[in-house]
Symmetry: C2
Subunit: 380 residues, 2 copies
Amino acid sequence: MADPRLTPLPTPCLLVDETRMKRNIARLAQHADQLGVTLRPHLKTTKSIEAARHVLAGGTGPATVSTLAEAEVFAEAGIADILYAVGISPDKLDRVIALHRAGCRLTVLLDCVAQAEAVVEAARASGIAIPAMIEIDADGHRSGLTPDDPELIRVGRILHDGGAELSGVLCHAGESYNVVGRAAHAEFAETERRAVVEAASALRAAGLPCPVVSVGSTPTAHGARDLTGVTELRAGVYVFFDLVMAGIEACSLDDIALSVLTTVIGHQEARGWTICDAGWMAMSRDRGTANQRVDQGYGLVCDEAGRLIPGLYVKQANQEHGVIARHPDFDGALPEFAVGTRLRILPNHACATAAQHQRYHVVPETPGAPLLDWPRFGGW
Amino acid sequence: MADPRLTPLPTPCLLVDETRMKRNIARLAQHADQLGVTLRPHLKTTKSIEAARHVLAGGTGPATVSTLAEAEVFAEAGIADILYAVGISPDKLDRVIALHRAGCRLTVLLDCVAQAEAVVEAARASGIAIPAMIEIDADGHRSGLTPDDPELIRVGRILHDGGAELSGVLCHAGESYNVVGRAAHAEFAETERRAVVEAASALRAAGLPCPVVSVGSTPTAHGARDLTGVTELRAGVYVFFDLVMAGIEACSLDDIALSVLTTVIGHQEARGWTICDAGWMAMSRDRGTANQRVDQGYGLVCDEAGRLIPGLYVKQANQEHGVIARHPDFDGALPEFAVGTRLRILPNHACATAAQHQRYHVVPETPGAPLLDWPRFGGW
């Protein structure tokens, strides 16, 4: 049963199931094709050049990132069309310019006059028509202008008239993470679509360009049925998926490609606890399933080969201790694990769990082939 | 008001106030002296050689760690007496032996027969009398044997008779994090003390050695009034402190030496939100104040110089977005922050927030002196 390739790995460590990952990547690529939009994958989940090569099908973009550090690493690796999808602050524009000078078309995101003025000033000073997207708020989730906000035209005009490149509008319906089922995600996808299409129309009606109309989140990207008027789809966590996505039925448990390999280090028999070495440092402090229909604690438990063991979860976590216990929803028989037993834990949130680690140990698609070692990076 | 030394730092990034850190270190060192016990600081919070030099007052130990990676880095840096305070698994003993061969006295922790047998086997095979402590459970928090458990003597005898070194007993009353105030922490310190002293007596009555009697957590270490029978005190997060510790009155807000420097990147005026670039990737997903008397969200907000701004907190966080909003407990006037404004966020949990970063930018005690750059490390 034990996989001899995993034996030398010190625990806790991060495993990727390449078969599942490739299936996840192919599924959304096909869906985007069917919808007639360009997929611009978000690389913030994986933060790995090797994973990016899979996600981008060996190409040089388009891609989305969440930090300038990601943009710099991926640009260095040859990715030439990157959207930095977090509102730009003026102090970061030097690095944006440097990326352009290094040959990467980096698009920035903004939603206010102060940002637009800073981008225009940097464009004038550098002679680079920095591409900028205006963020649109469809669901009150976070940032962005509502499509009917007069600031939209004002911001667009500052960019366009000031020597930046007004590339288009972008929306991320983050509230789609809080609804369950494909139909509900399809509704949010339509909310996203309507918001950006309305914003694009408003800009165009004001005589401004709006070539790119971008939407996306993992739930809406998979739920979308019709993206008329949209040109581009973004998603990130779908590459690995996780328990939060399974909890809202954006994937099944069998789609989850990321897990943490852990070793049993003790027991508290009277309490029915098995202690393992995957604490929150290995899993992250993310408790994204806490408010879902089923709270999965700090993760679900699989055997070393990745087969789910029904009835167990990581009930609590300290820095380097995970407490595996009976899930409150389960009353069947449970296995016992001797000290030294290796298990895998499926994470709540792939972005957060992966960020706790410095590399992926990839179990390759080819049976019996050696593990692959993919470094990942962090920082800003 | 702005500190020109902070201007070149890309945000988000981690700041340490050296003055506060040194004061925190000195306070507990003095308290341990008064109690007549050896302080064995836990280095898992800082994971930095430079910080360790401060905490260990330039010496080579004793120290506590939570991973073998920490033990290896600190041993390489000359720390020669290290306790690995997480239950040992058999597969990790090769690295324990390697550390001994490299000149580091590494003590392991265990609480069951299977672990003791594995340690004894490794001791025999290597010819190294691996020092081992038995973990004692005082409060049902996590791991350990209760002092009256007959397994205690059995485990002790396996170690002692089998060629390992039975170094003593250790307790961590983690439940002390859930009670408020110095008096409550003093009670938990007494609970810890009684448990280990009883366990040490039981071992000695059985003819076994028990030279080290070790207790500690940041709340109990500061709360302890009398440690008769105890030889060693452990604590970690006190070096930086955080909002969780302030929430249980183990420190004041003015003791918190760690913060995240962030830049304002936008607003949602209708909702009263200021958006900054310190999301959960910079703050961690730790919500340790969520169940305290005052929920501080993802952190409290200070100006760039570190002065608390009353009435604000980081209400919610996405991966690279923090939403600063009015704290529900506050009804006074609030300042406004232009895009580009720099702020500092005090974290819920220093161990978790620091782990999201690769370096500390240390604001030195000497006014106007250049910032110090202390790398930190992670991994296992």
